[in-house]
């Protein structure tokens, strides 16, 4: 709805087709016959067969407890990331340099709140309440994506977040549209469709800056310099150090390894950076004919671990902001609950009378 201000060009990357393919595959698999296992028989075998057939596990199905826990953790952290992720960009709404940019940015940040809510709803189908998940976030027991612990220091950062951060998120999320858990897969299809606008608007901001005044171009380059490596780190630790990967792949919660996705992202970005006329800050970046992929410098994973542990530039600020919004809103939520309770009593009296 709020995307009408964009020019009609295709989004860089063109991953939307994959989202649609995932949606078609979801329907096709639902229509397919499976093997012989009956729902009443061996539960684990039935679960495995549904997953093997690329069909979806649904909320009331039996599932291994670890599968449920893994999904709750992953979906919740994804939801938290959407909600915390509103802050760095929201930082520039009041100062957006044109009314059109202000409207687009406000709508984008609003979309992220919506995505957070879709994801909390998907997590709730696994038997956890949103209140519990919010508590886990606010008490620091569940994490959100570390990228949002970096500051937005210039307007160009809004562009870089759209292009690199949303771009990396889409590369991560498109395979999740094929996740074996139905509510998560469906939520991701919806999120990915909306996210393609986000990446496009970020790219357009950078493109305008890169073709603007020298000061604007410098602002854009500075921003790409600061966001490139944190964006690469969004794919997580290298495969050898990743703790949850193998089991998640077997369950078809995860479809590609961290390093595969990171490579895919780098390969996508090189051409896009050239079109922008901006430099990716990696002197080792070059095409490898043998691998048919770009060689690149890995992000600083020690830095990633520091940020995950809570010592990034903005961890404290982001958490404090979220906690304050939550606690300052408590009296409003209590009032709405009290009003609803009073109404319910009145309705009952009306019925009784």
């Amino acid at each position: 709805m709020y995307g009408n201000d964009f020019p009609g060009e295709d989004p860089p990357g063109g991953l939307l087709g994959e989202v649609e393919a995932a949606e078609a595959a979801l329907r096709a698999a639902a229509a397919r016959d499976r093997g012989a296992a009956e729902p009443g028989g061996d539960l684990a075998a039935y679960f495995a067969e549904v997953v093997d057939a690329d069909q979806k596990i649904e909320p009331r199905d039996w599932m291994p407890e670890a599968y449920r826990r893994t999904l709750i953790r992953q979906i919740a952290q994804h939801a938290h990331s959407e909600i915390i992720g509103m802050q760095p960009e929201g930082n520039w709404i009041s100062r957006a340099p044109s009314l059109k940019r202000k409207a687009i940015l406000l709508a984008k940040v609003q979309d992220e709140a919506g995505h957070g809510l879709y994801l909390y709803a998907a997590a709730e189908t696994l038997g956890v309440s949103r209140d519990e998940l919010v508590d886990l976030l606010l008490s620091g027991r569940q994490k959100y994506s570390s990228i949002f612990n970096y500051p937005t220091l210039s307007w160009a950062d809004v562009g870089a977040i759209g292009w690199l951060v949303d771009g990396a998120a889409i590369v991560n999320q498109v395979p999740l549209c094929r996740c074996s858990y139905g509510p998560y897969a469906r939520a991701m299809i919806r999120v990915c469709k909306e996210e393609s606008f986000h990446q496009r608007q970020g790219y357009e901001i950078l493109h305008t800056l890169a073709h603007g005044t020298p000061a604007q171009k410098a602002m854009a380059q500075d921003s790409v310099d600061r966001w490139w490596y944190p964006s690469l780190a969004m794919f997580g630790p290298p495969d050898g150090d990743s703790t949850h990967s193998a089991q998640s792949m077997a369950w078809k919660i995860k479809r590609f390894s961290n390093d595969e996705l990171r490579q895919r992202f780098v390969d996508m970005c090189v051409g896009q950076a050239e079109a922008l006329g901006l430099r990716i800050p990696d002197p080792e970046l070059r095409w490898n004919d043998e691998r048919q992929a770009y060689d690149f410098t890995e992000p600083d994973y020690d830095e990633l671990m520091r940020v995950i542990k809570g010592n990034g530039p903005c961890n404290r600020q982001r958490m404090e902001h979220r906690r304050r919004a939550h606690s300052e809103g408590a009296w409003v939520r209590e009032a709405a609950a009290a009003y609803a309770a009073k109404r319910a009593v009145k309705e009952k009296e009306k019925v009784a009378a």
């Binding site: 802050q87 709404i93 009032a335 009003y339």
Partner: protein, 241 residues
């Protein structure tokens, strides 16, 4: 300068400053669902502001577009009412502001939709539906806060008391304008009185009625708001964004 220009500018400034304040709630609302709702209302106000300021620029004929009017005027050149520039305060103050603003904008845009100036009429036709939603939203919350808990009642009454004096300026007579705001007052009073009564709130006594926004004499708050809104645009004269 034509009266239609003056009206488009005044209403455009109302909508723009209201949008700027409402957008401050983004990431800070009492509930995530409300974050989305407040952003929607801010987007509606911003949309109306862009249409009105663009049209004002055309009527003026001096080559100023919506951004030139939004970013390159100083506070003494803004023509918005004082109500919209007041700080957000707590959620109750914001809902009191929204109730007063929407209860004014609904009859205003409805009347504008029937005025002879086609462009203004088109803005009125679009914006009145949006304002009806804003009024509905504000009324819904004023009732819940007024008739919720003791604390929410106290805060809501305080919010209404704080905001109420600023309503008067909205209805100052403007006899030669396409819509004379003075004619909208009875409609406004009916709407707001009914909402406050259902919310178990008291309509404040009117004593002090600050004004001056339509003449460019504002509260101390507007200059700060503009400093923040305009800082980036002004730092790069002539740049495209």
């Amino acid at each position: 300068m034509s009266v239609n220009f003056a009206l488009a500018l005044a209403l455009g400034d109302d909508a723009l400053i209201a949008a700027q304040r409402l957008a401050e709630w983004s990431t800070r609302a009492p509930e995530m669902e409300e974050d989305i709702a407040l952003s929607n209302i801010a987007l509606d106000q911003l949309g109306a502001a862009r249409l009105l300021l663009s049209y004002a620029g055309e009527l003026e004929g001096a080559g100023r577009d919506e951004d030139a009017l939004a970013y390159l005027r100083d506070d003494r050149e803004f023509r918005n009412c004082l109500l919209v520039e007041l700080p957000n305060g707590d959620f109750a103050v914001t809902m009191a502001k929204l109730l007063v603003l929407a209860a004014y904008q609904v009859p205003l845009y409805t009347a504008l939709a029937g005025c002879p100036d086609e462009r203004l009429a088109a803005v009125g036709a679009k914006a009145r539906k949006e304002s009806a939603y804003h009024l509905d939203h504000a009324a819904l919350w004023v009732k819940r806060l007024g008739d919720g808990t003791e604390e929410s009642h106290r805060r809501m009454q305080a919010g209404v008391d704080q905001i109420w004096p600023y309503a008067d300026e909205l209805f100052a007579a403007w006899p030669d304008a396409p819509v004379d705001p003075a004619t909208l007052r009875p409609d406004f009073d009916d709407t707001v009185t009914a909402v406050l009564a259902e919310a178990t709130l008291t309509v404040p006594e009117v004593g002090w009625t600050p004004a001056g926004g339509r003449d460019g004499v504002h509260t101390e708050h507007l200059s700060y708001l503009l400093a923040e809104m305009q800082v980036l645009h002004r730092a790069h004269p002539g740049a495209r964004w």
